[in-house]
């Protein structure tokens, strides 16, 4: 089955992102195709490489990056939600005159149209979060 995933909550604050990760990984291992993972609301905070959790805890952000690298996943962060919350890539840095960027490897910033497309193209859009 072709699946799209939507993540609506930030890392560590909420289990939704852990569940989304575990679900995505299990779906890939079961032979399903992941069309896209879309990060919305506080979910965009999954996409900052500045996250530094204690060493004895899971690294939620790196985990997504590694999964994307291994399976060529499309991890998309909503631009409007990202701008509000300070998630910046090189393009956004330039456009908005910021002094740096923090997007994690494997993530890209794009519009909400990518979420709608993910809903259209996939057999199921699975949403994680409250």
């Amino acid at each position: 089955m072709k699946l799209s995933i939507q993540v609506n909550e930030g890392p560590y604050q909420h289990q939704a992102t852990d569940s989304a990760y575990n679900f995505t990984k299990a779906a890939i291992e079961a032979g399903h195709e992941i069309f896209r993972v879309f990060f919305y609301h506080d979910g965009v905070n999954n996409g900052t490489r500045y996250t530094t959790p204690p060493q004895d805890d899971r690294n939620v952000v790196n985990r997504w990056s590694e999964l994307a690298e291994a399976h060529n996943l499309d991890l998309v962060v909503c631009v409007a939600a990202a701008q509000r919350r300070g998630i910046v890539d090189e393009g956004e840095q330039e456009r908005n005159g910021k002094d740096g960027n923090n997007i994690a490897p494997g993530f890209r910033i794009s519009g909400l149209g990518q979420l709608i497309e993910a809903g259209i193209q996939a057999d199921r859009l699975v949403v994680f979060g409250d």
Binding site: H41, A80, L112, G113, I116, E117, G119, I120
Partner: protein
């Protein structure tokens, strides 16, 4: 994209207390621009998004409630659940 799919957005949070209502509205409007079959359900505290005469001056946030009345122009259906509205 010629496919038309049904999108149902479930709103369960009151406006302003969190950003869910406002960011939900943003994605709803984009979905409608893609000519999809879009509907909204208002459940639990989400029904408060539909109250008349919202005044946000005191909290310094944008009052986005007029947008809901405009959703009809995009062929968007809105539903509020009976059990939740009973407390309004």
């Amino acid at each position: 994209m010629s496919d038309v799919k049904k999108f149902l957005y479930v709103n369960r949070r009151a406006p302003y207390g969190s950003i869910y209502a406002w960011e939900s509205l943003e994605v709803v409007l984009i979905g409608a621009a893609f000519d999809q079959d879009v509907a909204l359900a208002f459940v639990d505290d989400g029904v408060y998004q539909l109250t008349k005469g919202q005044d946000t001056a005191g909290v310094g946030m944008k009052n986005f409630s007029p947008t809901y009345s405009a959703l009809g122009d995009y062929d968007i259906n809105k539903w509020a659940t009976m059990t939740s509205t009973r407390f309004m």
